[in-house]
């Protein structure tokens, strides 16, 4: 089975981010990066699928040429080869342009199933997965928290507003992964050493111009300082009359 795991390099979730003076981007100097949390789950699912059904896992990422540490880590965790579509503007590339670039490479590589996180933890769009499936004309199952996959298709439990739904789908398909689907493994030392010898190819993609533009970015307003109340009556009074939540 040909399996592709799409991953995005994002600022670490505990990074202190600040907005650039023009108010349209993030200051990236010295920013620490990681593979997006849900993409780690996608990679783990890709590797588990290979372990169960055989085949090969290709790690695919639109990102900077200098981001190879995070991609090597994916190879150390079980990816067989990696393709990085180099784009120094990857952080601000919109979902549509990102999806188009990924689709061109997925079509060139050929795949039975594509895994990616349900959402990237930086911009929180949750758009690339469904767009990739649409442009490919494949089935798309989003926010998958349990999965059984066979040669021709599979069954997935997905999170919806109404609760858990069970869906059947046929391959090829794009599956976006949710929390709880699996527990991503650590990269072992042998995996790290083996990753050095695995192919990591950098390609220059054809990139379409962004259609979504960032008008402005602003940090969330600082939280107001808390206040200690002396008793329950004062608390109820404050909740009723100041916060007006009771």
């Amino acid at each position: 089975m040909q399996i592709i795991a799409c991953v995005k390099r994002v600022p670490t979730t505990d990074a202190a981010v600040s907005v650039t003076p023009d108010g349209k981007g993030l200051v990236t100097d010295g920013l620490p990066y990681m593979i997006s949390f849900y993409d780690e789950i996608a990679l783990e699912q890709a590797v588990q699928t290979k372990e169960a059904l055989g085949g090969e896992v290709t790690v695919l990422s639109l990102g900077p040429a200098s981001g190879s540490k995070e991609i090597r880590e994916c190879l150390a965790k079980g990816g067989d080869k990696a393709v990085v579509l180099t784009d120094d503007e990857w952080m601000t590339r919109d979902a549509r342009a990102t999806a188009k670039a990924l689709v061109a490479e997925i079509e060139a590589q050929g795949a039975d199933v594509v895994f990616m996180g349900k959402v990237a933890t930086d911009r929180d769009n949750a758009s690339v997965g469904p767009m990739v499936a649409t442009y490919l004309g494949w089935a798309c199952v989003t926010d998958v928290v349990a999965l059984e996959l066979g040669e021709g298709g599979g069954t997935a439990k997905v999170e919806t507003e109404a609760g858990l739904e069970t869906l059947e789908f046929s391959l090829p398909a794009v599956i976006t992964t949710g929390k709880g689907l699996n527990e991503p493994r650590y990269a072992g030392l042998k995996g790290i050493m083996a990753a050095k010898k695995k192919p990591l190819e950098e390609k220059t993609p054809e990139l379409e111009a962004n259609q979504a533009m960032v008008a402005s970015l602003a940090p969330p307003p600082p939280r107001k300082e808390g206040r200690l109340v002396s008793d329950v009556n004062e608390l109820i009074d404050a909740l009723r009359n100041e916060a007006q939540v009771l």
Partner: protein, 380 residues
């Protein structure tokens, strides 16, 4: 000159850090209180390949060097020093000398099991009457037909309770100067006549087992001799050069944990209407801890790098351990002082760090012995 870590070493550090924060930090207090490392941790370390870190690939290891080992040990010890010393001893005092001095047969027999974590190793040199004066050891190996019979009692053996293999140093010749009549033997711990004696109750590193080993007529063949007969003492000392880098890295890990706990507390704890980090008395402590730690960390990494280059590193390893261990104790002391009475109770892990740090100035060559080694290099 580049002080940054390579991409590979960064990945290795991140992996060790993720594992240490995710699996060891939540268990470290329990390891200490129950005087036992959670057996699941040994399995996880095996899965990560930590038991075969320095073992060549052909024997199932990751074939990494001392610098990678030092970086991994710093991360593990930052979370749990009992686990840290177990990994350090297994790699630097057991696997390393086997790789360096073992015959092909010995390597084939032991390294795959050690690298996979199927068995753990321990190193046994000290006795009741021979600590810093290690060559004064009295336990004997006596020639008997085509083999040897081992007798005597050894002390302070780390991981003795769990080990499947011990590298033990025995007197094989009493007629020559004391350092020239010692031989290293590879002894399986299921050998008849071998038993693990008293388990020590220690100030720190309580999760790691430290025991007496008793040899009563333990028979081994010539194939158990590591290196040459009567030439074991140089192996013991050369092995300790690597061990000292490991303990140096352990000390940096403990010191780093002290610094981080101190910074956290300085930002939280309020006195006289402000957080105590506003006071110069606390700021200077933090600055001293950070500067000394950074310097010692660089020294440990330099010694590890030299050893990886195959260059002599006896003085640098001694300096690394001396600086790192004294720094760890300095940091532990200041950290406890910053925490005040709270740090003296078991409500905080600071008291464990304080107890764990102390041994780094004692084992694998006390601070006083490191000074002696350094001075001998300078005066020769």
């Amino acid at each position: 000159m580049d002080f940054g870590l390579t991409e590979e070493l960064t990945l290795i550090r991140d992996t060790a850090r993720d594992f240490a924060e995710g699996e060891l930090m939540p268990r470290a207090t329990r390891h200490d209180r129950e005087a036992k490392i959670d057996p699941a941790v040994f399995d996880m370390l095996a899965e990560l390949g930590m038991w075969g870190l320095t073992v060549p690939e052909e024997y199932g290891g990751a074939e990494l060097g001392n610098l990678a080992l030092a970086i991994v040990l710093e991360e593990i010890n930052r979370a749990c020093a009992a686990t840290g010393v177990t990994v350090s001893v297994h790699n630097s005092l057991v696997c390393s000398p086997l790789v360096k001095y073992g015959t092909d047969e010995q390597k084939k027999r032991w390294l795959p099991k050690l690298a996979s974590g199927e068995i753990l190793g321990c190193y046994s040199l000290s006795e009741a009457g021979s600590g810093s004066d290690a060559a004064a050891l009295k336990a004997t190996a006596t020639r008997d037909g085509d083999g040897w019979v081992l007798d005597g009692t050894k002390l302070w053996v780390t991981t003795a309770e769990q080990a499947g293999l011990v590298i033990v140093y025995m007197r094989t010749n009493a007629e020559v100067p004391k350092a020239k009549g010692i031989t290293a033997f590879l002894v399986p711990t299921d050998s008849p006549g071998f038993k693990v004696g008293k388990k020590e109750i220690k100030t720190g590193l309580r999760g790691s087992s430290t025991c007496e080993l008793i040899f009563e007529g333990v028979r081994v063949g010539d194939d158990a001799v590591l290196g040459e007969v009567d030439r074991g003492f140089p192996i013991a000392l050369e092995t300790l050069d690597g061990g000292r880098i490991g303990i140096g890295a352990q000390a940096i890990g403990i010191g780093q944990a002290c610094l981080e706990a101190s910074v956290r507390y300085a930002k939280e704890r309020e006195q006289f209407g402000k957080t105590i980090g506003h006071f110069q008395a606390i700021q200077w402590k933090l600055a001293d801890m950070s500067s000394r730690l950074e310097a010692a960390r660089l020294k440990v990494r330099e010694a590890a790098w030299l050893r990886d280059q195959g260059q002599p590193c006896g003085r640098q390893a001694a300096e690394a351990k001396f600086l790192a261990s004294t720094t760890a104790n300095f940091c532990a002391d200041e950290c406890l002082q910053i925490h005040g009475g709270a740090g003296y109770t078991d409500d905080f892990h600071v008291e464990r760090l304080f107890r764990d740090a102390r041994i780094t100035e004692i084992y694998e060559g006390a601070t006083d012995i490191q000074r002696l080694v350094i001075a001998r290099h300078l005066l020769r």
